[in-house]
Amino acid sequence: MTDAALPTAQPSLRQTVEARLKRRHAEELRFRFYGRAAIIVALLFLAVLVGRIVAQGYTTFVDYQLSLPVYVDPARVQVDDLSGANYDLLIADQTLARLGEKDDELGTQSGKLMELISTDLGFQVLEKVKADHSLIGKTITITGPVRADGQLYYKGQMKRTTDESERKLDNQQLAWLDRLKAKGLVKGGFNFGFLTKSDSTEPEQAGVLGAIVGSAMMLLVTASLAIPVGVLAATYLEEFAPKGRWSDLIEVNINNLAAVPSIVYGLLGLAVFINWLGVPRSSPLVGGLVMALMALPTVIIATRSALKAVPPSIREAALGVGASRTQTVFHHVLPLAMPGVMTGAILSLAHALGETAPLLMIGMISFVPGVPQGFTGAATVLPVQVFIWENASERAFEERTAAAILVLLTFMIIMNMAAILLRRRFERRW
């Protein structure tokens, strides 16, 4: 009797728990749904971003090269004035003849054909003849890119169906392009030039090599400054500095510095490094110095948290056998913190790689048609290159902007992978 009555009078533990169970499960399901939704949205944005850049930029990596036999006419090229000859016109005239067209007296036809052939071919003839005078009077074969607008036509970005007045090339020029291709003088292939050449005013001759080298040199300066200084500063603050009001003040300031807008660092660099210390503007050195200032707080914070994560038992163990504080830190604590330090350092370098604003302040926004001449020479870096091309008026720079972004992203992915690999490598040692 009592046994049966009790549960109804007072619900059992099981009943109490079960009554709430449904709500608890629902809560969990809801949370999981939110989490998945957030991830899907993030992935979607990423896919749209990368997809758009790839769709816009992949055509850069295809390029059409003209292979033309050029007769170096002694009547037009004089040995004593090699640079005075108009090689572009020479090539255009001969190509016109090859196409079976006749030039008028004003030279309109050859002028129109010149718009299809990159000035790169003319330069090549000049270089070859300069190197070997005996080539005058002979026929040499020159390979170089089709001019940007012609490339656009071959890639299908300029269409015949567009009204003639609204495109850069008229119907006759398009017909010539078709005939050049039909004659087998034009070949499409991978655009190695984009990776082996530097910036140029001619889109078909512009490449990212100068920017890649500039970025690499700048990062080298940044890394060799920010990492040792940052790691040592963090180690001192965390392991040696007496804790008190001063160390708190320093900590707050470092945390604040990490949040200072990057353009402010640019102003600082302009005032201190360029105006006061006289470091050459627009150079990888000054860029690296500014980036090092910017990366320093991040490196310090990452290192400090990595040091904090090292279990105190290791410190006690080392001190217990009579290691000095310095030995404890450098033999045991810092090596254990290394994976965290490395990750923080590389991520802050990756951040520095993508930073543009402070570089604009220190004059890195200049047209640099070559690989930087040393650490004090003029240089450009990848994000600034993107910025410059984005502002260019030629239609052909649009795809190059996207392609430069792709190169920049690849650079960053490589760095992040290096961070992960280093982390794994260091962790495996322990």
């Binding site: 038992s313 290791i314 006690e316 163990a317 080392a318 001190l319 217990g320 056998v321 009579g322 290691a323």
Partner: protein
Amino acid sequence: MNQRQFNQPLRHRDDEGAAAPAVHIAVDRGHSADKSAAIKIRARDVNVFYGDKQALFDVGLDVPERAVTALIGPSGCGKSTFLRCINRMNDTIPGCTVRGRIELDGEDVNDRSIDPVVLRARVGMVFQKPNPFPKTIFENVAYGPRIHGLATGKAELEAIVESSLKRAGLWAEVADRLHQPGTGLSGGQQQRLVIARAIAVSPEVILMDEPCSALDPIATAKIEELIDELRNQYCIVIVTHSMAQAARVSQKTAFFHLGKLVEAGPTGEIFTNPRDSRTQDYITGRFG
């Protein structure tokens, strides 16, 4: 073993008590049946503060040479704090101040002329949780001799490592894997590795802070056996929560309560005939 310890020292208890100086060590009834046994560590009026909080009150204790001294007492009674005063590990705790005199062979360890590095080479320490360096077994043991420059060559270093591991009773188990990580050993093996690491520096004193609290009974038995062997060469001070362990391994026992040294004396006496009622209550399991 237990029998011997419980029975033997009783005879001399009264003599010892009478001989004890009244002021400082009124509670310390000496350490052994043999009055001539040398005192290795002499602590007087030791007061320790963590910030404003006082953790130890006027502790005075004599620690005998070549014997095991056990510090017992409930959690938070200051026994670990006292232990850490001996090799100045408390220096590393911010806000911790130590007052009083702790003599190692008659020399004050807190004296300015004493470098903690030298002190800690002379006074080794084994911690509660086994804390081998995340390096190879060899490197763990070789670290101390290396930083102190105790070995002149590779062969000598290897000899030190081997003898230390042998004395810690670990050699047979790790001889074929000296170059594997020390963290891959079992808990008990790790603790013996840590003891080998301490021995490798040839210390005079070994401090052990609850060395068996993280170990299973079999590993504990091995460590206790090891402690019993080591006491022939070293002065050992061990903090333990286990009264059975204190009774098994130590020759002298000191009972701490609320930061004060309540009673100290030969282990047998403390366990069979405590003078203070608090000691009586603690060892009979009424509190703590």
